[in-house]
Amino acid sequence: MKALIPTAAVLAVLAAVPLVVHSNVTLNFLVVALMIALAGQGWNILGGYGGQYSFGHAAFFGTGAYVTAILQVRYGINAWIGFAAGIAAGAALGAALGALTFRSGLRGSYFALVTLAFAEVLRIIASVAPITGAGVGTLISLNLGIRTLQFQSRAAFYWIILALVGVSLVTAQLIERSRFGIWLIAVRENEDAAKALGVNVNGVKLAAMVISAAIAAAAGCFYAQYFLFVDSGIAYGTWISIQALLTPIIGGVGTVFGPLLGALVVKALGEAAKLLAGDAPGLDLIIYGAVLVLVIWFTPRGLIGGFTQMRKVLMRRSGPAAPSTGKARHG
């Protein structure tokens, strides 16, 4: 329980923001950043702790978004149930994809490739299938209310996405401290050795994929409720696959707070680019690509990794020699 105190503190500070800040622009920025942080935390469970780098988390994000939207628009189902169904559908897709890929032993390059291809297949299907509204997309009609999960105030959406991020942070923390988390990290560090020691490698990876997919799908469900519009390019586009992996890598891959920190940095950079050079298409993604390369180059363990490294160096200088920490996570 003691370990959850930092998380609770961070969440409490963030929850107080709308009480102080009333600017819709700022709140909108934070809502989108938290949504990206949520998708990033999803990626982080599988990629950061499990070492399985997915290049197609849009598959889960988009499925969550479409299921939430379609259930409401086409079947008149309550928004809350739609939201939950979206998360469940994302998890189910994760289970199916995980079962197929891990059973045939796809790792590394191949895993990245197959996830990318799945997202792309779904994008093409969504751009022609009638149920998704094909090229036109699906529009959720505006109907404010708690029952429809639509609010006038940005603050309400802010607290909803913050609550979801909170759940994802606690999930990551619980995984980190559990036996399952240790198995997962063992798989990341050396899959063959983990298997030799009796870890059920495929089972562990599959469980991580389901949790990861469910969290990314929740971000997609939230997208649908917040923007009330989904089309194939938004739902299954590369923008979300890229940001889902970018945020944990910038913040600190395989750390609890990495995705949240990374999302704030990524979104701030995107906004800064817009201020400096106008809202030109592609500009924000050029910067994200450059940041991705530079972070891997110079701080391969992200900002959090960089901080701990610096603190260790400082402590070693001032105090007695710190015990060796063994092999670096991504050396």
Binding site: G51, Y53, F55, L100, T101, S104, G105, L106, G108, S109, Y110, A112, L113, V114, L116, A117, F118, E120, V121, I124, I125, S127, V128, T238, I242, L245, I249, A280, P281, G282, L283, L285, I286, Y288, G289, A290, L292, V293, L294, I296, W297, P300, H330, G331
Partner: protein
């Protein structure tokens, strides 16, 4: 429906486009065979090469078949530089980092093209754009036939380089046993960069062969490279003959599924083949076990 007058041209055209796919796939499989990573920047580099060929024609008045003499070395240098000075140092020798760096480069190139030239689709009109060769009742576009012949010439040239030159021997040595090659005095970083350069030059040649009968926009390379991924996976990662045969198979499969199912579903057909092959036989039809 299955009359030979429709079927034969569809198969022949599938083979012709398959040869261009083969060139893109050759670059990809070469890089995988040596560096053991999938180059996710391959598609973006193809888009960039198509733009280069487009502007060589528009601004310098160079016919694409002439421009290839300029663009192939240029893109070799670009690929060499990318691997030697960015991908290599940035990824610290970790495979996962390499994947991410090539992905980052792809995002940068693609969006720089989008930023500079917008999403407009452009074409060039060469005098021979609509010229055809008649074989019986089948008409084949001259540009596609040239592409077919040139693709095989490039494959042959690559094979000669790999088999008979010192550079080729060094590349094969590094692909087989990196540490051993290093101990034998081979500069591995240099060989990696040369391989990446050769793969990128393949893309430039493919672009010059494509542009007379195709169009260019910032994301055009994606469609090709997903096809190329399929081919490489089908033929076996790192296998050159596998890439050639896989490319011709996919070209014909695409042409036939386009004929029977329509354009957009034809694309899904390729993906389904791709995913099925990955799941059932991840080492491909001709690949050795990883």
């Amino acid at each position: 429906m299955l009359s030979p007058t429709i079927l034969i041209p569809a198969v022949l055209n599938g083979l012709l486009i398959g040869a261009i796919y083969a060139l893109v796939a050759l670059g990809l499989t070469l890089i995988y065979g040596v560096l053991h990573i999938i180059n996710f920047a391959h598609g973006a580099l193809l888009s960039a090469a198509l733009f280069a060929a487009f502007f060589a024609f528009r601004l310098l008045g160079l016919d694409p078949y002439v421009a290839v003499v300029l663009l192939a070395p240029l893109f070799f240098a670009l690929g060499y530089g990318l691997q030697r000075f960015i991908i290599g140092p940035a990824s610290h020798g970790d495979e996962r980092n390499m994947l991410l760096v090539t992905l980052g480069i792809a995002v940068i190139i693609e969006n720089t093209l989008l930023y500079a030239f917008h999403a407009d689709t452009r074409t060039i009109d060469v005098p021979y754009a609509f010229r055809t060769i008649d074989i019986g009742s089948t008409f084949l576009a001259v540009s596609r036939v040239v592409g077919f012949v040139a693709a095989f010439a490039v494959a042959l040239a690559l094979w000669l380089i790999m088999t008979f030159t010192d550079t080729g021997r060094a590349i094969r040595a590094v692909a087989k046993e990196k540490l051993g090659a290093e101990l034998a005095g081979i500069d591995v970083a240099h060989v990696y960069a040369v391989t990446f350069g050769l793969g990128t030059a393949c893309v430039a040649i493919a672009a010059c062969l494509l542009i007379p009968s195709y169009y260019v926009n910032p994301t055009v390379g994606d469609a090709f490279v997903l096809v190329a991924f399929t081919i490489v996976v089908l033929g076996g990662m790192g296998s050159v003959p596998g890439a050639l045969i896989g490319a011709l198979l996919i070209g014909v499969a695409e042409s036939l599924s386009g004929l029977f199912l329509g354009e957009s579903l034809g694309q899904i057909g390729i993906f389904l083949i791709f995913i099925a092959v990955l799941l059932v036989r991840p080492n491909g039809l001709f690949g050795a076990r990883a």
